[in-house]
Each structure stands twice: as structure tokens, then as C-alpha cells.
């Protein structure tokens, strides 16, 4: 039986498109470890992270909303290349927040692009909470 569970667990771990909940739980664990007073992620803090402007990697003043717009249910546009970006809200775009590997990749990239550093566990969880509930 133990073997079966191991095999099943392996299947789930390696699974493409692993649900985002597991990833958010691991961010929550990390946040709790860094600060025992951590109470949970917050969409309002996430909104602040998403909409506030910073001098980004290109030396220009940008925010996440510069490309994704302030309305996450609408398409955005890459402010440097003019490429259309599909809406971020999973309520209108079923492909959003379904693949943890993809989500992690974009959080790393886009935090670097806007904040010139990677996000902390709390920041990443807050932004995801904002997007998820938008």
C-alpha cells in the first residue's frame, strides 16, 4: 500500500498544471516561518503591490498594471513590445492560476521587472490572492 501511495504521490508531484492551492500553501508556510505573527494573505496589500509604480529594470517608472491594466478582467498590452496579454483574472480566463510552475516563473520575472528584486513569500501570496479574487 505504501508503494502505491508513493507512486500516486509521485504522479501528483510531477503533474503538469498542479493546482495553485498547493503553491499558495507553501508560500503561507514560508511566510509563517519568516514571521510567526503572519495571519494570512491579503488582497488589499496585493492590490497595492500590483498598482504602485516603481523604477523598474529598464529604468522606467512602471507597475504591474502598466502591462496588465487596472482591470484584470480585460486584456492588457506589453508596454514595451505592444504584444496583447490575455486577462489575468481566472474568473474570465480559465488558463490563469492553474499551473504552479508557470505562476512561479511569471512572479519571479515580473517582480524583477517592476521591483528589481524577487518578491517575498508574503508579497507573492498577496498578489495571487488579489488576482484570484478580482
Amino acid at each position: 500500500m505504501k508503494k502505491v501511495l508513493t507512486v500516486l504521490a509521485l504522479g501528483a508531484t510531477l503533474g503538469f498544471g498542479a493546482p495553485i492551492d498547493g503553491y499558495m500553501q507553501s508560500l503561507a508556510n514560508e511566510a509563517k516561518k519568516a514571521d510567526s505573527s503572519f495571519k494570512g494573505f491579503d488582497a488589499a496589500r496585493g492590490k497595492q503591490i500590483f498598482t504602485s509604480e516603481h523604477i523598474g529594470k529598464k529604468g522606467q517608472n512602471i507597475s504591474c498594471a502598466s502591462c496588465h491594466t487596472n482591470d484584470l478582467k480585460q486584456s492588457g498590452k506589453n508596454t514595451f513590445t505592444a504584444k496583447v496579454i490575455d486577462p489575468l483574472s481566472p474568473k474570465v480566463n480559465k488558463e490563469r492560476l492553474v499551473d504552479a510552475k508557470n505562476v512561479e516563473k511569471w512572479l519571479k520575472r515580473n517582480f524583477n521587472d517592476v521591483y528589481k528584486r524577487e518578491g517575498t513569500a508574503v508579497e507573492k501570496g498577496d498578489v495571487l490572492t488579489y488576482i484570484k479574487n478580482y
Binding site: 500516486l8 504521490a9 510531477l14 503533474g15 529594470k57 504584444k83 496579454i85 516563473k105 519571479k108
Partner: protein, 167 residues
């Protein structure tokens, strides 16, 4: 026992699908997804192998944008780019002219700064390039309506707020 075997089979199947899924999907699809999210997935023939090797080593700072990939995806995409690069494969006259215009001592990273590209685009007014529908010469498909299919013929050019372009 039967139940165990079925569970095990499902487990193996699941892990198998995810392990080999990426290979089943054509590598080109991965390239389209990973590189085409931010800009047109330029045909690999635009640049020589040495350019792609250099490009893919520095994705953390890809024209001042973080475009980093995990090691496996990077390796897979690099293999696709180098096996279809301009110095090994040029399927039409534009790609071979482009490839021939690049000196062997050069390792360009910007397609838009290669000699043939510059020559072909030199007559275009700045305002048509900088307008919001285009933004820069890197946005091929803004004017080359069949760019994603690798067709850069003059007939397929339509510049926003201008129209057809003839030399």
C-alpha cells in the same frame, strides 16, 4: 491486489504523462509559448547559432527584462533555435540574405540591428515605427501581416495608419 495494480498503473500513467508530455508537444509549441508571450516568436533563422547560444545564456537580463526559464525549458528551446538557425538553415531569400549580411566576427542579439534588416527598413519614417500600434522595429507582425508564418514579402506589408509599403 487488483486495486493496488490499478492505482499503481494510474500513478505511473500520471507521472509518465507529465514526464514525457513536453516531448510529445512539439518543441516549437514550447518556443511559441515561452518566447511568444512577450513578443513575436521570431523565426530562429533570423540569427546564427552563436547568437542564440549567447541569448539563451542571459535570459535573466533579456534586453533589460527578466525572461528567465527553468533549465530544462531553456535547454529544449536552445536546441530548437540552434538546429534551425540562419547559418544552418535558410528557407527563403529573406532569411538567406539576412544570414549572409552578418559578419562571421559578429554575434548580434538584436535582429533589428543586422545589416540586411537595417537596409530593408531604412526608408520608414520614425513616426510610423514609434506609433503605439507598432512601438519598435522588433514588432514584426504589426506591419508584416504574415510574419508569424515566416512570410516577409512586400505584398504582405500593411503599416498601421499608413497602408501598403512599396520601395
Amino acid at each position: 491486489m487488483k486495486k493496488i495494480l490499478i492505482s499503481a498503473a494510474v500513478g505511473i500513467l500520471l507521472s509518465g504523462v507529465s514526464l514525457f508530455g513536453a516531448e510529445n508537444k512539439s518543441v516549437e509549441k514550447v518556443y511559441q509559448k515561452e518566447c511568444g508571450s512577450c513578443h513575436m516568436a521570431y523565426q530562429p533563422q533570423f540569427l546564427p547559432q552563436r547568437s542564440w547560444n549567447k541569448m539563451m545564456k542571459n535570459l535573466d537580463n533579456h534586453f533589460e527584462v527578466d525572461a528567465s526559464l527553468d533549465a530544462n525549458d531553456n535547454k529544449m528551446i536552445l536546441a530548437y533555435l540552434t538546429s534551425n538557425a540562419g547559418d544552418v538553415k535558410a528557407s527563403n531569400k529573406h532569411f538567406s540574405k539576412m544570414s549572409n549580411s552578418i559578419a562571421s566576427s559578429e554575434t548580434p542579439l538584436r535582429i533589428s540591428q543586422t545589416p540586411y534588416f537595417l537596409k530593408e527598413h531604412r526608408g520608414i519614417p520614425k513616426r510610423l515605427i514609434e506609433q503605439k500600434e507598432v512601438k519598435s522595429l522588433a514588432n514584426c507582425s504589426a506591419c508584416h501581416t504574415s510574419a508569424t508564418q515566416g512570410n516577409y514579402s512586400e505584398r504582405a506589408i500593411k503599416i498601421p495608419n499608413y497602408g501598403r509599403w512599396e520601395d
